[in-house]
Symmetry: C2
Subunit: 400 residues, 2 copies
């Protein structure tokens, strides 16, 4: 690695760590919640909002940007930082998750943790009666859902695309298996992922920091095998990806198998996870980085975050603003929240905007939800420093 990437652990508490990641585009503190800018935009928000929100890093999706507007176009325009006007670290994923989910999503009707599949910008009807993605030892071939053309993603190509994008942290191309894949298939896919990891190490742009991805589904021996394999390689950090099982408990088990096998001095990123409860439970198990579309996606659907006592693990710390009980509610979304939306707007007004499908709703709601999650993470980080994590966790989750 060059000096463009550095991870410094400043405080530890049990298995938890609070630190700083330094990149060519500045630093971010960990544990961190990374907002997702799928198509080079955190949905509903702009760069000015992100600055105001104190988002220190964003993650963009390689798969999406390769298809639209194209990574080569972004390269000609000076890279993703310039394109988005973001002067802070940018992470890109490998494109694997989205490409494979076109395949297994169709076959199994599932997503990351046995949830409904989501494919940004695509309509369900577009898949019907057709398999969209095929995996070979070389990579994955899929139909471009925009143009219908066949696209191939390989480890080398993923490295090339991410180089074109010019992100600071990139991920190795991995095969993402379904929660319904059996052990034999998962084991075979894991071998492929490991070979691909080596290819990525060969091809990646040395100006970027490459993270390997631990796969292995919900199988203990496979996860351990993958963690041991990745740990020995010269990665800057590690993602934990693929199927995280069928329940939260499965996910926790996977973290407990994997994390002790990864080198202490490198950051660990839990890919695509970020519900409020998960932030506590996964930081506790040693996770440093999270990315998730949850805050902005839930916002768009009317689910707004609230803190305890109104928010709790049962209601997932959310109210649904469309509920008629908010019709004349002059309180802010969350009385403990310091964001400008909560300081200036009532639930009644936000409910009205949501029901009327007004555009400004989407921004105000997304702003609040992202602010909420970023502040939870600030509190968690602080609680690692001063050793009050379990008090904080109890206050939020009601259990330790």
């Amino acid at each position: 690695m060059e000096t463009r990437f550095e991870f410094e652990i400043k405080d530890t508490f049990k298995r938890m760590r609070a630190g700083v990641v330094k990149t060519a585009h500045g630093k971010f503190r960990t544990p961190v919640f990374v907002p997702v800018a799928t198509f080079a935009s955190v949905r509903g928000l702009d760069d000015k909002d992100l600055k105001e929100l104190g988002a220190e890093v964003v993650l963009a999706n390689t798969y999406h940007l390769h298809l639209r507007p194209g990574d080569e176009l972004i390269k000609r325009l000076g890279g993703l930082h310039k394109f988005m006007n973001i002067d802070k670290p940018i992470i890109t994923d490998s494109g694997g998750f989205q490409a494979f989910s076109l395949g297994f999503g169709m076959e199994h009707g599932v997503g990351k943790i046995a949830n409904n599949i989501f494919l940004e910008g695509l309509k369900e009807a577009e898949y019907k009666g057709d398999k969209w993605a095929f995996v070979t030892d070389k990579g994955v071939r899929f139909k471009n859902p925009i143009t219908g053309e066949v696209v191939e993603l390989t480890p080398e190509k993923s490295m090339k695309i991410q180089s074109n994008l010019g992100s600071d942290i990139i991920f190795a191309f991995d095969e993402c298996t379904s929660p319904l894949s059996d052990k034999d298939y998962t084991a075979m896919a894991l071998e492929r992922t490991h070979r691909w990891a080596e290819e990525c190490l060969r091809y990646y742009d040395r100006r970027q920091a490459l993270f390997g991805v631990v796969q292995g589904g919900e199988y203990k021996d496979l996860r351990e095998k993958s963690a041991r394999f990745m740990a020995k390689k010269d990665f800057a950090g590690f993602g934990i990806g693929g199927s995280l099982g069928k329940s939260k408990q499965d996910m926790h088990n996977i973290l407990e198998w994997v994390i002790p096998l990864l080198p202490e001095e490198k950051p660990r990123h839990l890919l695509g996870i970020g519900a409020v409860e998960d932030l506590f439970n996964c930081v506790e198990r040693g996770i440093d980085m999270f990315d998730c579309v949850a805050p902005t996606r839930w916002a768009r659907r009317g689910h707004l975050y609230v803190s305890p006592p109104e928010g709790n693990p049962e209601n997932k710390f959310r109210i649904h603003i469309q509920n008629s009980r908010f019709k004349e509610d002059t309180k802010p979304i969350d009385e403990n929240c310091e964001c400008f939306v909560c300081k200036t707007h009532s639930r009644a007004y936000l409910r009205h905007l949501f029901v009327a499908n007004e555009l400004s709703y989407f921004r105000l709601a997304s702003y609040h939800n992202l602010h909420f999650v970023l502040r939870v993470m600030d509190e968690i980080r602080e609680s690692i420093r001063d050793g009050s994590f379990f008090e904080l966790k109890k206050e939020w989750l009601g259990y330790i």
Copy 2:
């Protein structure tokens, strides 16, 4: 009138005037472009944006707010200013235009100046084979497009609704005729509008400033009759509404017939008009106030304002951002624009966001377009003060 409304003319130049309107919620300078907040939100923007943009007044639609969320609800919540968190003057229209356009729009397939009809939030299919609005001497009955229930708007009811909304400036309930209405119908409708104006004067909330609306379609004698009638009544100002003919020339003629008959000391509001070229040509003829959804609506459709020399009356001072020539264009939307969007984002990025249908596009585009029109109006106002209006007009329109 009480002292809650005051219009002070500070400078004049030919028929043009630059002044200040004072209300209980502060003042705004004229000539003014008033952004439209149909459903209590300027589409795509929020109150913080409006403050930043220097919008000194907004106009909300009585018809829409009566249907959703309901004026009585807004009253219980403390009125429109509190509901929207807008601490500046708010204007509401009478609801007439929208209610009538449900009727004549269906019959004639037309809108304000022989254009396509627009009905915010409604789909074309919803009207087919059905007449939605019926006019009687008492008012207009129409089907609520949200619930299907029959709603009646009368002069008294319009005054009551606008009182509930608590706006600073309100409009008298008028019958808005179609550009395809014949003279006999227009004359009959005008009598009705005049009777209704007297009813409004009887019923309106004295804490608000009531503007009368001059109707009469494209007929000189009817427009003059209406202007003379309204001029004698105790209105705080005047709207010029209804069909403004079939061409820009028709509209200019109407202004030249009407304006000399209205009292100098009261403001004149040209309802629903606000293209860049119109601002010059109508201020020149003595208009003080404009409201129009154009900047934000065009923005949403991809049409972004540009100043001369790129912008001109032929291209309506707009580029269409979807055009492939902007794919790699690193220039701002408008090189002369000082808005944050132009300072920080390229046409290439905005084109990408538009094509990807990203939510943030709508805000950035709306912000730029509204900024653009507000700054044009600033320049026009300044040019009245210093007598350089015709130089400015020539620079923008290429003609005097």
